[in-house]
């Protein structure tokens, strides 16, 4: 690898790496379907929906499926009497960089058959959308929120898709993507200003604050979460909310570089005290 000059290295730190020309071929060696009973059954039932089957690290069977059929296939894997993958061990995503597609990874475990299987769905960067599996495994709820937060993959049908790791007012994008610059997109001063413009109340829903015995925050201080019935509780609540309820992190709510609290955003702690 060519040694980078100081200027190039500094540029990389601030802007992220350039795309490379590598292909997105599946990793691991190709495997025979008969080496894993579930893969053989999948091939028998879904046919060409099983795109590749590879073995990774000795005994890790990976099945690549098209994203539009992933939900149907996973539902079958959980419900079929011979498979019964009733435990979603992990749901995550991988970005291999260089403009290659993102991979959503479902790590399944069958308690009954003591078998594990890894399902991967590849999503091109211009269509980062896949069906949510919260209706199959409840465990997918926070995992899908995390994948959305850090990779920007939208899960269709997720009941409450909002950020879980990054702050609610985070507007720099999705940090685990390879095209995300290491230090983020805003200057340190702007990042500091934004983080301090979050009131502590912003980290919790009004329900959570009430459960903790705390005072109810003033309307407009705590951001409205997506209510179950799909409508804001009252008009006064709705007045304090910028953007669509349920999507509190719309970057367009936040203007860059304004002094004090951002336009349409949350007021600072002074506002919380009143």
């Amino acid at each position: 690898m060519r040694k980078k000059s100081f200027d190039e290295a500094l540029h990389d730190l601030e802007s992220g790496p350039e795309p490379t020309e590598e292909s997105g071929a599946p990793r691991g060696e190709s495997a025979d379907a008969s080496s894993h009973p579930s893969v053989a059954a999948l091939r028998g039932r879904f046919g060409d929906a099983v795109l590749h089957h590879t073995i990774f690290a000795g005994d890790e069977h990976v099945v690549y499926v098209p994203p539009e059929r992933a939900h149907e296939l996973l539902q079958w894997l959980r419900d079929d009497e011979a498979q019964r993958y009733d435990l979603l061990t992990d749901l995550t995503a991988v970005d291999y960089g260089g403009g290659r597609p993102l991979e959503v990874v479902y790590q399944l475990w069958s308690i009954a058959a003591k078998r594990q299987l890894r399902i991967k769905a590849t999503l091109p960067l211009n269509a980062l959308e896949i069906e949510s599996v919260v209706d199959i495994w409840h465990a997918a709820d926070w995992l899908e929120r995390e994948v959305w937060d850090l990779f920007g993959i939208h899960f269709r049908g997720h009941p409450d898709l909002r950020r879980i790791m990054m702050p609610d007012n985070y507007a720099e994008g999705h940090p685990l993507r390879k095209d995300f610059p290491l230090r983020g997109r805003f200057s340190r001063a702007e990042q500091t200003r934004r983080s301090l413009s979050m009131a502590v109340e912003d980290f919790y829903t009004p329900d959570e604050l009430g459960a903790a015995g705390g005072a109810q925050p003033a309307p407009g201080v705590a951001r409205e979460r997506a209510p179950k019935d799909g409508a804001p509780k009252s008009s006064s609540d709705a007045a304090g909310v910028s953007g669509t309820p349920g999507r509190p992190n719309d970057p367009e709510d936040w203007t860059l570089g304004t002094a004090g609290s951002a336009a349409g955003g949350t007021p600072g702690p002074e506002g919380a005290a009143t």
């Binding site: 500094l10 001063a189 301090l196 702690p269």
Partner: protein, 221 residues
């Protein structure tokens, strides 16, 4: 059975039972009291907190220095110890805790990450808690050993002994600053951007040779 005569309390003048008077400077006696009853508010976020706990445990026994009680409420604390890295998500929490502490108050930034961001020069991490709250003592190390933290606290005690009540600026707090960052935006930017290969070289300090290692490749043309 006779009533035992009450023993005389020791007096500073040492003579008889009359009221004794000790003359001293007000600064000296106030600082003496403050120095020896520093109640720490632990703000442990990472591995430094483990060393902080070790400092407070039996072997190193911070109680020897007047830190008998860890104060888990900021309202009864004198000294904030930020032990570990501070993500931006925690920054408003740290600032809120600092604002809740009553004067007089001091703060210690424990470890490389709390002081400068350390190796976490990434999107999620505050590059030094002094951008968020004022800091009195920086304890270097990754993490510092308990001896290091104790030395930092002894230095803080030394600093408190030198304070003067007449200096009103020392304990002055501006209500406007509540919940706000500690440093101006330009300074935060100048501190954050590296300028050379050394962590000591930023846009504020410029290219300063800080060690014996001075490789030509480290220098800007």
């Amino acid at each position: 059975m006779g009533v035992a005569e009450r023993p005389m309390l020791p007096t500073l003048s040492g003579s008889g039972g009359e009221a004794s008077i000790l003359t001293t400077r007000l600064d000296a006696v106030v600082n003496w009291a403050r120095t020896n009853s520093l109640w720490p508010m632990p703000f442990g976020t990472a591995c430094c907190a483990i060393e902080m706990m070790a400092s407070f445990a039996a072997k190193y026994d911070m109680a020897r220095f007047g830190m008998e009680r860890m104060s888990f409420s900021p309202r009864q604390a004198d000294m904030l110890i930020c032990a570990g890295r501070l993500p931006y998500k925690m920054a408003p929490v740290l600032r809120r805790i600092w604002d809740q502490m009553p004067q007089p108050k001091w703060s210690i930034s424990m470890g490389a990450c709390a002081s400068t961001g350390g190796v976490f020069d990434a999107y999620s991490m505050v590059q030094g808690i002094d951008t968020i709250i004022p800091v009195d003592i920086y304890v270097p190390g990754c993490p510092p050993r308990p001896e290091g933290l104790i030395y930092g606290i002894l230095l803080l005690q030394e600093k408190i002994r030198g304070e003067a009540l007449s200096n009103t600026a020392l304990r002055h707090e501006d209500a406007e600053r509540t919940g706000r960052q500690n440093l101006p935006a330009e300074v935060i930017d100048q501190l954050a951007l590296p300028y050379g290969n050394s962590t000591n070289q930023n846009k504020l300090s410029g290219l300063v040779s800080t060690a014996a290692i001075a490789r030509p490749a480290d220098r800007q043309p």
